[in-house]
Amino acid sequence: MDYNEPTLRGFETALYTGELSGPGVGRGAAGSVAAGTWVQFDVQVSAGDTAQPRIETACIENARFRAYGCPHTIAAADWVCQRAAGRPAGAGLPESVESLQRRFEVPVPKMGRLLLIEDAWAAAVAELASRR
């Protein structure tokens, strides 16, 4: 399979892999290795924002991911983490699934992998909210 330049760059560099820890971190995952794709996000809001009553308005300070998946999955997850800092946690995925599909030219049969990214992100934010 051929990949476009943003996909190759994101796949080859993948700067935002890893995990975060601390009271302001929420973790969520979607998919499974057995099914071929698994994505996990750690979303961290700034320390001051952890005291806010509504996590939706807390500001994301950092995000990291782990992924077992194809180059499109890894590049898109990395891009989402890269775009996350400074955004409200409740604003949803930092870039829409449709926009990710266009950016990385993800083939239609692989769109489900972007939906897993969206689900994993939502699960991470939900976990953060549930701690409050």
């Binding site: 796949f11 995990e19 290795v33 071929g36 077992y68 194809c70 180059p71 692989k110």
Partner: protein
Amino acid sequence: MSGGAVYLDHAATTPTDPRVAAAMAACLAADGDFGNPSSANHDFGSRAHALVEHARAGVAAAAGADPAEVIWTSGATEANNMAIFGVAHHERSQGRHLVTARTEHRAVLDPCRELERRGWRVTYLVPARSGLIDPAAVADALRPDTVLVSIMHVNNEIGVVQDIAAFAAACAAHGTARLHVDAAQSLGKCDVDFGASGADLMSLSAHKAYGPKGVGALLVSRRHGVHIAPLLYGGSQERGLRAGTVATHQVVGMGTALGLLPTGGEANAERRRIAGLRERLWSGLQALGGVLRNGEDAHCVPQILNVSFEHVEGESLLAAIRPHLAVSSGSACASANREPSYVLRALGRDQRLAESSLRFSLGRSTSAADIDTAVHVVAGAVQRLRRIAGAAGWNAQASL
């Protein structure tokens, strides 16, 4: 090397030997032997005819056949189709049952499925985890209406070598079942002796043995009195079994390529060299941990090593090594048919391991430096992908 990448995909195809290309070119232009080999009424045709027959003798000698048993085809795919449809149609009054294996190439499986759609019955044998087909299973599968058994000699994905003589004995005991052998991968990798094998039909390919693409042969045993119905009509070429003008340059290329293959002690020395490189590769990859060898070493040709990598996604693995290494993959999205390797699935590998498999196939140009590069590239990719996945228990910093 091509574009900086190490080529370890010789089971897919080999580069045409320059001496082969030169011999082919001499058959094309106006100052060469471009005549129609069927035009016996002038010297242009006679010279081309002589070249075709010289090539036929060369192919026969390389495969242990009689020249009269060689039928030119466009490649092993056509030869397989010719054998399967040819026997099925010629023997249809005798019976409509065939036997093959789940690990055959699609050039065998697809014709069998087409025959099933037309009313034939097909038994698909399941190999052992080693990839070997039990000759007793072949014998057990034979029925009074069985007309053909088709099993490959060297498996294209894992390199396992089947016991053709044992299958031939089972067919001989049956009495009427013919044995067809897809030997597309065999020439140059192991000894091929059509006459001694006991097979009735054998498919050969040129481009797996440093010859050109687009030419192959079907060997049809005369001693066994094998008859097949033709696939093509429109001329009496190839004893009426394969109509159409014989492509002189192509068959000359095949004959030349097979004539250049090492034999005897030279062949054995080359196989030992390749086997040493393969073990160097396996040893290097094994150090990563979580690496499984597909196929049983003792029964495989030395040129092929197929391995699966635990906890590595197949498509990403192939993408990561692609700039540096040309190999084949069992990855679903990387292959044309978008299905994980059915051969590895038939051997009992789960879908993830089938998808994360790589087939390394070594050739005459492969060096120790190529192998070391391959180990370095694959190790880097596997370790990085395991780090991204965060797989607990993997030592991503394992040194090689």
